[in-house]
Structures are given as structure tokens and as C-alpha cells.
């Protein structure tokens, strides 16, 4: 897979998925605390989102940062626009702005920490509906 193919894959993923999260690891198995918090916030809101693990090939991150102008992971896109990294996502989650942006109701947070998604919280793994499979294409 060439860099151009990776780049166009990333651009397509951003355009084709209303809520697109680039992260280290997967929503089920985040490989970094920041990625865990971002996917945890989305899980807590109960929105469907596509998630792409950037770890399988370093070029994914390089191309992504070049597309977005954002140097770190995770990166959340909504409607094709960069919303932010984990700090902004968490700020927006806590203020209710993220729920508003995504058109869902702000959950009653209570004790639920978005950083620790419970496996039982979602009936379907959020990742399943995405089927991006960039890992496979890269191997």
C-alpha cells in the first residue's frame, strides 16, 4: 500500500463516517489512555462511530496528521471536520457540547467514568458497524 493510498483511505474514512475516531488500539482494547478516554466518551454517549487503529503502520499516523494538521492521537472527526484530540473531546463531553454536536442526549454521568467503558455498556461493539479493516489492507 502506497502512502497515497493510505492518505486517500484516511480521507475517505473521514468523509464517509459521520463520527470517525482515529485512535491507538480499538474501542474494545485501547492501547493508550488518551485514546481510551476519547472512545470512552463516545461509548458513554451511545453514538455509533467508526474507529481506526493507527498503530499497525506508522504511515497511517503520518498521513493522518498531514491531512488534519493535528500532531497527536486520538483525533475525532464529526461530519468530516476535526473536532479535536482527547483534551478537547473530554472538555466537550463534560460540558455537554459533544452530545450536542452529535445530536444525542447528555447521559447522566453519575459515577460512570468515560475513561473506563464497561464492556456491557453497548450491546454491539461500536467498531463492528464500521468494517474499515485498514489493518488487513495494509498487511
Amino acid at each position: 500500500m502506497t502512502n497515497e493510498e493510505i492518505r486517500s483511505f484516511i480521507e475517505n474514512a473521514i468523509q464517509e463516517n459521520k463520527v470517525m475516531l482515529f485512535m491507538k488500539g480499538t474501542p474494545q482494547q485501547p492501547a493508550c489512555g488518551f485514546s481510551m478516554r476519547a472512545s470512552g466518551a463516545l461509548n458513554a454517549l451511545g453514538v455509533k462511530y467508526a474507529a481506526l487503529d493507527i498503530l499497525p503502520d506508522p504511515r497511517i499516523r503520518e498521513e493522518l496528521s498531514s491531512v488534519s494538521g493535528w500532531p497527536t492521537i486520538p483525533q475525532l472527526f464529526v461530519d468530516g471536520e476535526l473536532v479535536g484530540g482527547s483534551d478537547i473531546v473530554m472538555e466537550m463531553f463534560e460540558s455537554g457540547e459533544l452530545a450536542e454536536t452529535l445530536g444525542v442526549d447528555q447521559p447522566d454521568l453519575g459515577d460512570a467514568s468515560p475513561g473506563e467503558p464497561e464492556p456491557s455498556a453497548s450491546e454491539q461493539p461500536p467498531q463492528r458497524q464500521t468494517g474499515i479493516g485498514l489493518e488487513n489492507r495494509l498487511s
Binding site: F34, P71, G84, S86, D87, E91
Partner: protein
């Protein structure tokens, strides 16, 4: 600027800057990233940022 792990590669920073006025959070954070250039994502693995204008209007949006 706080070194959160002591390893010199994870940092947390809070910046109050009048230049943030009228900018989205994305733009504010990008200004901070610009200060560090290629170091963020390179030598600096993680940089946690909180930005604020000197006199935030309402919730600082």
C-alpha cells in the same frame, strides 16, 4: 508545563493567552502545537493542553 510521568515525554500545560480570543479550541490548541513544532508526536509523546483567554466569555467557547 508539568511533566506528568517524569520521563520527559508526557506533559500537561495550561495556557492563558489573549491570542486565543475569538478562536475555536482546535485553533487554540494548534497554536500551542505550533510552538513545539515536530516535537509533539516525536520526542514529546503526549501533550495535554488546556487553553483559556484572559477573560473568557461565558464558558470560554
Amino acid at each position: 508545563m508539568v511533566d506528568t510521568t517524569g520521563g520527559g515525554d508526557h506533559f500537561r500545560t495550561e495556557v492563558v493567552w489573549e491570542r486565543f480570543e475569538g478562536l475555536t479550541r482546535i485553533q487554540q490548541h494548534k497554536l500551542i502545537y505550533d510552538v513545539f513544532g515536530d516535537e509533539v508526536g516525536g520526542a514529546i509523546h503526549a501533550l495535554s493542553i488546556k487553553t483559556q483567554t484572559p477573560a473568557p466569555a461565558g464558558d470560554g467557547r
